[in-house]
Amino acid sequence: MSATMARLRGRPFRGGVHPSENKELSWECRIETLPPPPVVQVPVLQHTGAPCSPVVKPKQEVRAGDLLADSSAFVSAPVHAPVAGVVQRETVATLPNGRHVKVIPIQTAADQPTPEDLWADVYGGEWPLDGVEAAEPSAIVSAIRAAGIVGQGGAAFPTHVKLTPNPAKPVDTVLVNGCECEPYLTSDHRLMLEAPRPIVVGALLAARACGARRVVAAVEDHKPGASAALRAAADGAAFEVIELPTKYPMGGEKQTVRAALGRTIPTGGLPLDVGVVVLNVATCAAIARAVLRGRPLTHRVVTVTGRGIRTPKNLLVPVGASYADLLAACGGLAPDAARVIAGGPMMGFSLGSFQAPVTKGTSGIVVLTAADVRAVEETACIRCGRCVDVCPLNLVPTRLALAARHKDWTMARRFHITACMECGCCAWVCPAAIPLVQLIRTGKVQMQKEAGA
């Protein structure tokens, strides 16, 4: 019934919400380069998968781009020095998601490239397409593996794993995800405007690597400039751009694939199951840089925004710079700042300490004011079903939260708790201010723990 209704109304995907975007705070801000901080701390685990072991020793001198740590595991990605400098003794840092990871600190050397040179090295300069046809698929995959490229949209899954051809699951389409559906964030938006060429080239290289014939970029329709820039940069290459309606969580893999290609990823499955590889725009640019220039993923664009920061900016930063470095570069917190979030305000983590390092998956820092963070008291569920209406996956969040609260895993399974992707639409919309997705999130973890015990 609801599927029919969706088709009738032409909905790109079921449910979803429209939080205030607030992207105008930073979407006019050209990407600036963060001056190299005195110390960068490079985590050995910045991805989904096995952590790396250091291959450098304290006091060793490294150049920018030198390998710092690697792993022999397939699902892993090496990390590299973002700056030239001297390796310090390794320590432990707490990432915003609460994970404690080993970090390799590097004392930055005095001699660093100018902002112009850095930009030219990372996203600027020429990106010729001539090499694409000639490139050997396996060579592209190894270059990506060697460059330590992971998904830069947030989940940080190692990209070479997605692109390694799998005879059982052939890929026909590479979907370039430029939706950036999280409110406030504009890093992908700026990248599409200022460096569309490496995105196009990287996507074509990825398609060559995995054997996909079609390359489609999906951009939300409130960023017409970005889609125009991509189209112009494609310059006749087989690179389509689709504009999708603006709705959170359009950038979620399942939603983008559904909206752009009309394919439904099975629950518990991957885009691969429907012949698609989804790559974030920044990931594509990193692929181009790795293959054409042999340079690893060491820098990324991070949006620092919100009404709680003095000067919102889009910054090109070295991986390992601390959140404090970025906040300081944006003039520091405003007096009414109330919450600092790593990532977007819907799915990001609030920070208790600003010493955590930026990783390959950090897309933004959002500083909300007391007025933005509405402190509402939780009241009783009145079973209005709004959470059901907005759930993009057609779940019943209120029941899942109840099951999680009571640790009733039979009920949780009956209502398909593992299908939840934790987008947070339910908690956003709940009139009773029940922390629905928070309960479901902890419930999923607990259920797994108890099943394992």
Binding site: P37, I265, A324, L351, F354, L368, I382, R383, V396, A427
Partner: protein, 341 residues
């Protein structure tokens, strides 16, 4: 300087230092999402009050001070009961979520103009106490509180709330000199013209006489998404389906339009059946619930001794909600979750 769990921390110190800085920044930490829609239970209840405004206006225009009297009695009784029962349960009274006021008003609008004061007062107290508090308060009750209160009052004071109670010429109001359209049709086959029936110039409970007012207020609720549109839609469709056999037989001059406009059908479909607490969670469940309600109303009107069936239809459907919820667990997009264990 701002407060944090670790005491006041100078904000500048926490942020500007690029060397290791103090651990505690002056900000709060909480799990995401960090934004919230401007929705609240109170806002939804206020929406219902706004939606009820046309019905209240018609009631007052038609039944004058008697309508005001019924609404005042039931609302006051509901709010006071809410406070009392919250105290008894040792819970803070949540009067400002307006839910008690809504219950009282819904009940009042379902009473005849001439009902004695104690019918509304006891009805509202029972609505809050037996209808809601005893189940664990707002959100926990199985049955619509207002309908529980009305059923209790109707059984306790049959003379004051039965069909005959609607005719009370002593009030000095023209509408209440004749039987309600449904009673007139049931008892003597007399068909009220559709015009007055739809606009609200007939006898009946103070809030039910105008189908137009209920439709206007109800559409507002659906537009605001405070009431799910699936329930009234299902109810109207079911009522239509129930009228089909009659059409085939050639039948009387009592048409589907009469059925939809008469009695509390529109009022019940838009305002009572849509009570979120006592209706199903999923869109499919809401369709079933609405259709069941419409069908039951048609059946009770046609085959039972009662002229009207909205109250019983609501209560019966309320009882079925857990079953409906169980049977309408939606399949996730992408199919059921694989069961690993």
């Amino acid at each position: 300087m701002t407060r944090s769990p670790h005491g006041p921390v100078p904000r500048e110190a926490a942020v500007t230092a690029s060397a290791p800085a103090p651990v505690a920044p002056a900000v709060s930490v909480a799990p995401g999402p960090h934004l919230h829609a401007a929705a609240s239970t109170q806002r939804m209840m206020a929406d219902v009050l706004v939606g009820l405004a046309p019905l209240v206006a018609v009631a007052v225009a038609q039944f004058r001070q008697h309508a005001l009297f019924q609404m005042a009695i039931a609302s006051c009784s509901a709010v006071v009961s809410e406070w009392l029962f919250a105290r008894m349960r040792g819970r803070p009274a949540t009067l400002w979520d307006l839910s008690a006021l809504v219950t009282g008003l819904i009940l009042a609008l379902s009473l005849p103009a001439g009902a004695p004061w104690y019918a509304g007062a006891v009805g509202a107290a029972v609505a809050i106490g037996l209808g809601k508090a005893i189940f664990g308060g707002l959100g926990q009750n199985l049955f619509n509180p207002a309908m529980v209160g009305r059923a209790f009052a109707m059984i306790s004071f049959p003379a004051a709330l039965g069909a005959s109670a609607y005719v009370s010429p002593s009030l000095g109001i023209e509408a209440v000199t004749s039987a309600t359209p449904l009673t007139a049709f049931k008892m003597s086959g007399q068909v009220t013209p559709i015009g007055p029936l739809f606009l609200g110039a007939t006898n009946g409970s103070i809030g039910e006489t105008s189908a137009l007012a209920a439709l206007l207020g109800g559409l507002y609720l659906c537009f605001r998404r405070t009431a799910p549109w699936e329930i009234p839609a299902g109810a109207i469709l079911a009522m239509g389906a129930a009228a089909l056999p009659g059409l085939a037989g050639g039948g009387t001059t009592w048409t589907l339009a009469h059925d939809l406009s008469a009695g509390a059908f529109m009022y019940g479909a838009f305002f009572i059946a849509t009570d979120p607490v006592t209706s199903p969670l999923t869109p499919r469940g809401k369709w079933i619930f609405g259709a069941g309600f419409g069908l039951l109303v048609a059946m009770i009107r046609r085959f039972s001794g009662y002229p009207e069936g909205v109250m019983f239809a609501i209560l019966v459907m309320n009882a079925l909600v857990p079953l409906i919820n169980r049977g309408t667990i939606p399949v996730p997009v992408g199919g059921p979750a694989p069961q690993t264990r």
